[in-house]
């Protein structure tokens, strides 16, 4: 089993994602207009001891991957935690080409099976498993030769499959990630309690699940109390994201809440400067040390 690091570095800030303000999102997109500006911040995170990068499969991540491959000493032991797919890419393709057209665009065209795909064979035979595996492989191409201990399914897909009741899709993802990439499957969700129920029913033991966990209860479907109980009592490896609710909660208050829950393995956070990275790391270290054992209290 992969031991998750306490802190993972996220990539929302690189791509102008901010759930609170369009202005902030745009300012961040401008700040990170070049790939080198992203690499500089990743380097700062690395220097501060944060060597795990949880990232989407945005095409610009491929450039970061290339840089890390070319600079093995600068980024020794650096790990990627890919989150797939980059939803906007697929949503735009579906808008432009329809569902079948979009599938064909993202599937590999080379090789014998690729030719069958191109000819519509996998589509025509309704081979969902085969299609799913090909799509995962297409997304993973950019990480070739790099360490990817956990591979995540993005919340848009996890939650769509949960909603549709196509739970088999979650199993296909988990099995392929384990077999082909020797990696732990991870699931990002906005519906933690429902997701845990389904993963348990599928027999996926002690899964890595990343969800919004914040003091404000922002985007925690099922309610903050249900989340706290699940973290304290259920068998899974929680990664907290959106701990500051895109800036709505001040850092210390936000991290105090998360660090006080011993069930939370990891925290994913984004930052745009070395100073912010250092501050967050120091706060998490300080607060994790003196965290009261609230799990029992919550469970009771």
């Amino acid at each position: 089993m992969t031991v998750l690091p306490r802190l993972l570095f996220g990539d929302n800030q690189f791509f102008g994602v901010n759930h609170m303000s369009e202005e902030r999102a745009r300012a961040q997109a401008m700040r990170f207009a070049t790939t080198s500006s992203m690499i500089e911040v990743l380097g700062a995170a690395y220097d501060e001891g944060i060597k795990a990068f949880m990232c989407t499969t945005h095409e610009r991540i491929a450039e970061i991957c290339q840089h890390v491959r070319e600079h093995p000493r600068q980024f020794a032991d650096f790990q990627f935690y890919p989150c797939m797919p980059y939803g906007v890419k697929y949503a735009n393709a579906v808008t432009e080409h329809g569902i079948i057209g979009a599938l064909k665009r993202f599937l590999p065209q080379e090789g014998a099976f690729g030719a069958l795909v191109k000819g519509g064979f996998a589509v025509a035979t309704r081979d969902v498993k085969g299609l799913g595996e090909l799509l995962i492989d297409a997304e993973m191409k950019m990480f070739e030769g790099l360490s990817t201990p956990v591979i995540f399914l993005q919340n848009l897909v996890t939650d769509l499959l949960l909603g549709l009741g196509m739970h088999e899709g979650l199993r296909i993802f988990a099995e392929h990630v384990r077999c082909r990439y020797r990696a732990e499957p991870g699931f990002i969700t906005m519906n933690l309690p429902r997701c845990l129920d389904v993963l348990e029913a599928l027999g996926l033991d002690n899964p890595v699940v990343c969800a919004n966990i914040n003091k404000a209860g922002f985007r925690m479907c099922g309610g903050i109390g249900t989340y706290e109980r699940a973290i304290a009592t259920r068998r899974f490896q929680p990664i907290a994201m959106s701990v500051m609710a895109s800036g709505a909660i001040p850092p210390r208050e936000a991290l105090e809440y998360v660090c006080a829950q011993p069930g939370i393995r990891s925290i994913v956070f984004g930052a745009s400067s070395r100073a912010n990275i250092r501050e967050t790391r120091a706060l998490v270290q300080e607060l994790s040390r003196r965290a009261p054992r609230v799990a029992e209290a919550v469970a009771a």
Partner: protein
Amino acid sequence: MRTDPIRVALIGLGKMGLSHLAIVNTHPEARLVAVCDSASYVTEVLSRYTGLKAYGDYRRMLDEVRPDAVLVATPPGTHAAIVQAALERNSHVYCEKPLCTDAAESRRLANLAQAKGLVNQVGYHYRFVAAFQEAKRLLDAGVIGPIHHFRAEAYGPVVVRPAGATWRTSRAAGGGCLYDYACHAIDMVHYLVGRPQGVAGTVLNRMFSEEAEDEVYATLLYGDGKTGQLAANWSDDSLRKMALRVTLWGANGRIYADRQEVQLYLRKPVAEARGLVPGWNVRYTTALTPPVWFYLRGEEYSAQLDHFIQCARRGSPDTLCSFRAGAEADEVAAMLVKNAAGAPLDAPFPVRERVPFSTALEP
């Protein structure tokens, strides 16, 4: 109030349809009983993996399943016939926007739904975004006084290169920037300040699309002298996804709202608005948005379907975004098309000579 679940059928399994399916499927007071799409690939995969009953012919589905409520998420050019068939069979109907490509059809369907007392709703989901609801609350409370001007804008990256022809890039089929983007801005204007009586200076320009416009600009005119500007451009890839923004200027200040936040500038304090200070007041979606039972891609998508289901349970046809509202948006869209083609204004509009700053806010 009904206590058993509302039996829902869904027609159209594109991007919006799949999203609605996932949301309704998890709703505690609804039961999805059948889906329908002309693409057999999607329906076969769905029924194989979920056990859902799937149809290729919506009339057959409506006749066999007799759903309490129907969600229509097919391309807009097909809405009129499908919605009519569902209403005739006494189903409540939620229909994606725009309601119809012919505003007269929209009006007819609104009248039919009303005559039959059926719940009817159009998918203008921005009405369910907490920040816009907060803007509406502030406007209705009169905190910035009478509005004299507004600007409603919609930008995003749908068509950013010459693209293959789908329904989305054909005005005749209900595509184009006017129906896809500008309609959201028009409906938001209707929601916040009401329907304009006239339009002027409409521009429908093409950049990439062959059979539809890529940008829409117009001035909206009101009988009381109020004016508004409308701007929509679906070829703006400086944004990750669609952004709808509204700015309103009133006698006592200004309100700006988008999906994430409401920024209110108050000139003078007002009694109606406790807790607001003169100058800037900002509230973010993180604090404004009520939780939903299931989140897929924005609370508003869940909230609008919950609203529809609750109205169906109560049997109350007055939804927050009725077919009548859908027809009004379609009528203004038709006015824009006519105006862009060179039609003169129907009547001269009064121009307000002076904004009554001092009189509007006196108690």
